[in-house]
């Protein structure tokens, strides 16, 4: 088998693993971001404190450290994850924490009149948040969320640290066997750039689809 044939077939396996990580962590990180933001803005003091503490902690740690804690330190407390799930969990927590700040800012930017009108109709707080506040806040937070998703795509490569056979780890391994760094790493780089571009286009399309007159990002 030629260099390129075996390289590409290995790399594709790694790419699939990377896509699996992303397919789980992107939607769940968005969900976590929304939940943390809602908990901070609307939770009672305890819930708000816990959510705020979580965000402060996760934003205060390098992702590498979070990842190593999840994979190496938690087992000492009796909590075990496979390398794949350790990576996914670390990514969701980190990205969710960052995303929550965009959403929180967006919620705070919604005019108080929206809330008053919802209350005046007899909506409960939960109905108000789900039907009135979040649909508007999500639209405003979307450009920021897109940014975080692109980061997430790129730093999914850190999963190699705990032994996940994903795109970057395969490339690194293959390079140690063949030592052709220019071909190997530039191909890998192209794939990451491709994924980031697809994500950018997808979220731009989503933004346009959700666009409402008068609700453009402020």
């Amino acid at each position: 088998m030629s260099f390129w044939e075996s390289f590409i077939s290995y790399l594709l396996q790694g790419w699939v693993a990377t896509l699996e990580i992303l397919a789980i962590s992107i939607p769940l990180s968005i969900l976590l971001g929304l939940s943390l933001a809602v908990a901070r803005v609307y939770g009672n003091w305890l819930i708000s404190l816990i959510a705020g503490g979580f965000v402060a902690l996760l934003r205060g740690l390098p992702l590498v450290v979070t990842l190593l804690i999840v994979f190496f330190a938690l087992p000492k407390l009796g909590i075990y994850f496979s390398p794949f799930w350790a990576a996914v969990i670390a990514f969701i927590m980190c990205s969710g924490a960052y995303q929550s700040e965009y959403v929180r800012g967006a919620i705070r930017s919604i005019d108080v009149g929206q809330s008053l009108a919802a209350q005046a109709l007899g909506m409960t707080k939960i109905q108000e948040v789900i039907y009135i506040i979040l649909p508007q806040a999500f639209r405003r937070a979307l450009p920021g969320i897109t940014n975080e998703i692109i980061y997430l795509i790129l730093y999914s490569s850190l999963a190699y640290l705990v032994g996940v056979q994903e795109l970057f780890s395969i490339a690194k391994h293959f390079n140690s066997l063949q030592f052709r760094p220019i071909e190997i790493f530039s191909t890998t780089a192209l794939i990451y750039a491709f994924m980031a571009t697809i994500a950018t286009l997808f979220f731009r399309k989503l933004e346009n689809k959700l666009k409402i007159p008068g609700l453009e990002t402020i």
Binding site: A117, M123, I132, G214
Partner: protein, 253 residues
């Protein structure tokens, strides 16, 4: 309390810190009545309305809505608010929803009505305020007067026992005030019970059943609008109406 009384307010007090905004307000609204409240800014009109639908909790005093005491702590606030329509000075339409959805969302989410039925009612209400052709538009695509008419339709759709209007034309350009007042007059003639905080004396004179003049957290003068406006007994009211008169009538002279 007779069936005829929709809303009864007794000795309402409200403080914000050291500032006392309401100092014992009492009145009743009969079914079908249009009650006008006016008074200088800072007299407590808006606070009064917000206390009446419990967006702000009064510190003292009692309120009954259709014979049910709503100042009772055990009451479900959301159930109470369904029976009170509220039209805001700043419209407060939901920015992410079309005119139609603005009117139907309360029916769907709060009254758990199915979508088709809710939209049918919403369309009827938009028709009533003359906006069925704008049903698909978002708030940003509507003029101020149209927005306020959608807001009135939104309040009406819930089939409330009473509608509160909090200075509904104060944020509008003069040429848009008329269309909103026309809708409000039509509703008043249909005997939709309402409390209207407004400085539109023409509106008060044509459909107001009683006028309350508020000053410094109290109702200091009340009566049929014509009496209150043209022959106020107290000095504060006289000065107030004189100023309004200069502003509106003076210019025409």
């Amino acid at each position: 309390m007779s069936d005829d009384i929709v809303l009864k307010v007794e000795d309402l007090h409200k403080n914000y810190g050291n500032v006392t905004v309401l100092k014992g307000v009492s009145f009743e609204v009969r079914r079908g009545e249009t009650k006008i409240i006016c008074g200088p800014s800072g007299s407590g009109k808006s606070t009064l309305l917000r206390c009446l639908n419990l967006i702000t909790r009064p510190d003292k005093g009692r309120i009954w809505l259709e014979r049910e005491e709503i100042t009772n702590r055990n009451i479900n606030i959301n159930k109470v608010r369904q029976k009170i329509g509220f039209v805001f000075q700043e419209f407060n339409l939901f920015n992410h929803l079309t005119a139609l959805r603005n009117v139907s969302v309360g029916l769907e989410v709060v009254k758990k009505m199915n979508k088709d039925e809710a939209r049918k009612i919403a369309l009827e209400m938009l028709k009533k305020v003359g906006l069925e052709e704008h049903a698909h538009k978002y708030p940003a695509e509507l003029s101020g007067g149209q927005k306020q008419r959608v807001a009135i339709a939104r309040a009406l759709a819930m089939n409330p026992a009473i509608i509160f209007y909090d200075e509904p034309t104060s944020a509008l350009d003069p040429q848009l005030i008329g269309e909103v007042l026309e809708v409000m007059k039509a509703l008043a003639r249909e005997k939709v019970t309402s409390i209207v905080v407004t400085h539109e004396m023409g509106f008060a004179l044509s459909v107001g059943d009683e006028m309350l003049f508020m000053y410094d957290g109290k109702i200091i003068e009340r009566g049929i609008p014509q009496e209150v406006i043209q022959n106020p007994r107290c000095e504060e009211a006289r000065r107030f109406f004189q100023r309004i008169n200069e502003l509106y009538v003076g210019k025409r002279r």
